[in-house]
């Protein structure tokens, strides 16, 4: 299953059978009443769904344009949207008879969400994390350990997220019979991009219902930040056939022209990595670049193939916001609405403010607030003068 030419299963032969097994299990269970009921239960009673769709009156007045609504994934258990996917995949893995979960993590949010799912379903959990990131994200490393997971530092390559993915894949090659590789975003070989999108689509489905209730219409525009792309695809996908403008915001870091960024769609080119054909930041030989963003969750040199396809077909637009703009939005939302967003989500807030400012007062912009910013305080303390 592909998205135009994007996606696919570009993996060594040994992973073809486990991917097939995963695809079959997913196809079988995704429409199964019992599986859906159980998943629904955990999302509601354990994780706290549905999340509110909040009309940000103060922010809207400040901007003076369209109405700005915030989809509050920051209010979910663990503080980010990641858990929608980890509960879904862990439950699936459990049904498949797997006893062990492995995951990659950059900043640690997906690692934490996986550790939580592992604890919840009684599965041994091991998280691969680049040794660079292990140093930078000590609280999340400790969190994972507290939750019963083992954190395995990755010392190879550039020692960041892409290398953690490589190491998780190496592990899976040897352990797939007992182990499920819980990928954290809409990336990787098929069926992952579809499966993760489906699990995250609860965001967009709820948003549609909630906005209809609040405003009697569909939104005019939806804005979300894009790292691998899971929170964005989760809110976009249920609107793909509607007349709604979809905007994905990538990390421009210190500025695209500096080369210190993570804007794969804005500044990358087509390539094949981590099992998929998509857009990547890379040199002329195809060596994958190291990336930068103040938001570690956006620090990935690729992007999900469905986003690549949406860009290609023009269904969605992709833009980039700098560290500085994101930090300003971080501070703005905190002061105006009393909500401290994750630095990743702050990228979406920053662009939404721009876009809303150019729209009519009766129009509606929904921003996916993919996470809360408690995890970012140490970083922000050093960068923002208060």
């Amino acid at each position: 299953m592909k998205f135009g030419e994007f996606g696919g299963q570009f993996v060594p032969e040994v992973l073809i059978p486990p991917l097939k097994e995963l695809e079959e299990a997913y196809e079988r269970l995704k429409d199964d009443k019992e599986f859906k009921r159980e998943l629904d239960y955990y999302l509601k009673v354990y994780a706290g769904r549905p999340t509110p769709l909040y009309f940000a009156r103060n922010l809207t007045e400040h901007v003076g344009g369209a109405k700005i609504y915030l989809k509050r994934e920051d209010l979910l258990h663990s503080g980010a949207h990641k858990i929608n996917n980890t509960i879904g995949q862990a439950l699936l893995a459990k049904k498949m008879g797997k006893t062990r979960l492995i995951a990659e993590t950059g900043a640690g949010q997906h690692g934490v969400a996986t550790a939580i799912a592992g604890a919840l379903f009684g599965m041994k959990t091991e998280v691969y994390m680049g040794s660079e990131d292990v140093e930078r994200q000590k609280p999340n490393v400790f969190r994972m350990k507290l939750l019963g997971a083992e954190v395995i530092p990755v010392h190879s390559g550039s020692r960041t997220l892409k290398d953690a993915i490589n190491e998780a894949l190496r592990d899976w090659v040897a352990t797939f019979e007992t182990t499920h590789y819980l990928i954290g975003s809409v990336v990787g070989p098929h069926p992952y991009p579809v499966m993760v999108r489906d699990f995250q689509s609860v965001i967009g489905k709820e948003t549609k219902r909630q906005l209809l209730e609040a405003e009697g219409t569909l939104p005019d525009c939806i804005v979300a930040c894009v790292g691998g792309g899971s929170n964005a695809m989760g809110i976009f996908y249920p609107f793909s056939r509607d007349k709604v403008r979809l905007i994905g915001v990538e990390a421009a870091g210190r500025g695209i022209e500096t080369g210190k960024h993570s804007a794969s769609l804005c500044a990358g080119k087509k390539g094949v990595l981590h099992g998929m054909l998509s857009y990547f930041l890379q040199d002329e030989d195809g060596q994958i670049a190291t990336t930068h963003s103040v938001a570690a969750g956006l620090d990935y040199p690729g992007v999900g193939p469905e986003h690549a396809w949406m860009k290609e077909t023009g269904r969605a637009e992709y833009v980039a916001v700098t560290d500085e703009e994101a930090l300003n939005a971080f501070a703005l939302l905190s002061k105006l609405e009393g909500i401290i967003p994750a630095l990743e989500s702050a990228h979406a807030v920053a662009y939404a403010v721009k876009v809303a400012g150019e729209m009519e007062k009766d129009e509606v912009v929904v921003v996916n607030l993919s996470g809360r910013g408690d995890k970012d305080l140490e970083i922000v303390m050093k960068l923002l003068k208060l």
């Binding site: 696919g8 299963q9 570009f10 993996v11 060594p12 032969e13 040994v14 073809i16 059978p17 486990p18 190879s156 390559g157 550039s158 892409k162 290398d163 993915i165 490589n166 894949l169 190496r170 090659v173 040897a174 352990t175 797939f176 080119k269 087509k270 390539g271 094949v272 990595l273 981590h274 099992g275 054909l277 990547f280 890379q282 002329e284 030989d285 195809g286 060596q287 994958i288």
Partner: protein
């Protein structure tokens, strides 16, 4: 497929199927591309086929030994162009087959057609693309057909018979049997999975089958040949010699030659 590596090459090496092949691997550009030609010539003396790896930033099928070789090669500034140059230089000294091993991205970004053409023009005999399964290989197979490039696809211990058949069909030079569930890297013992895979593959494949991953001594070579392998691939054990000679890379030349000579003992009973 057009050219068969076995027929197309000359008399300077023992031809299949009388004697099994010894296939030896190094990462090009490790620790610097200026040593690669000499290392290839050192391998050439006692090998039948040389496998040369294009260094890549994300070698996900490789274990620590070859991962580090990739890092060294890239740190030294090795470019794809350099690897092609080295093969061309090698060709001035030897007609032994050179199999280029790479991940798909370097091929894809250059343009599959361009890459295969350039590789062929510089003397590459066959290619292995590690993360390109049969399903995704149409443009690649077209280009290989067009330029007379031989192909090698991989099969793993969990590859079912129907897939083995397809892999055999699209591999024109040989089928690479991955001996175990894991990455590259020398092991102490050849695992059971290797022998079972050889047995299954020999029943289904029409092309020669070469076994690799974990092979590190002449004992292993002997065991695998006895079990029916038409060829054996040794990589990490050789790359380790290069790693250990880091302070004086020229010394690796003699050490590599000695080691491959010892491996060759495994081919003769």
């Amino acid at each position: 497929m057009t050219t068969n590596m076995i027929e197309g090459q000359s008399k300077s090496y023992q031809s299949y199927p009388e004697t099994p092949w010894l296939v030896t691997f190094i990462t090009a550009g490790d620790p610097d591309v200026k040593y690669t030609l000499d290392y290839m010539l050192a391998l050439e003396k006692y090998s039948d086929v040389i496998e040369l790896g294009i260094p890549f930033s994300d070698p996900m099928a490789d274990g620590p030994t070859i991962q580090k070789a990739n890092v060294r090669a890239l740190k030294a500034g090795t470019k794809v162009r350099d690897v092609f140059n080295v093969v061309r230089e090698f060709r001035e000294h030897s007609e032994k087959p050179v199999v280029l091993m790479t991940y798909y991205n370097p091929v894809y970004v250059r343009g599959v057609d361009n890459f295969v053409k350039e590789a062929k023009e510089n003397g590459v005999s066959a290619m292995i693309v590690v993360d390109l399964p049969v399903e995704e290989s149409d443009p690649y197979l077209k280009a290989c057909e067009k330029y007379g490039m031989d192909t090698v696809f991989l099969a793993a211990p969990n590859t079912p018979e129907n897939r083995l058949r397809v892999i055999d069909e699209v591999s024109s030079a040989f089928v690479y049997l991955v001996s175990l569930y894991g990455t590259t890297g020398a092991r102490d013992k050849i695992p059971e999975t290797a022998f079972r895979l050889i047995e299954r593959a020999k029943k289904v494949c029409t092309k020669p089958v070469c076994v690799g991953f974990g092979v590190s001594k002449d004992e292993h070579v002997r065991e695998l040949v006895r079990a029916g392998a038409d060829g054996v691939v040794v990589g990490s054990a050789i790359v380790r010699i290069i790693e250990e000679s880091a302070d004086e890379p020229e010394l690796a030349v003699g050490r590599i030659e000695e080691f491959v000579k010892s491996l060759r003992n495994g081919l003769v009973d």
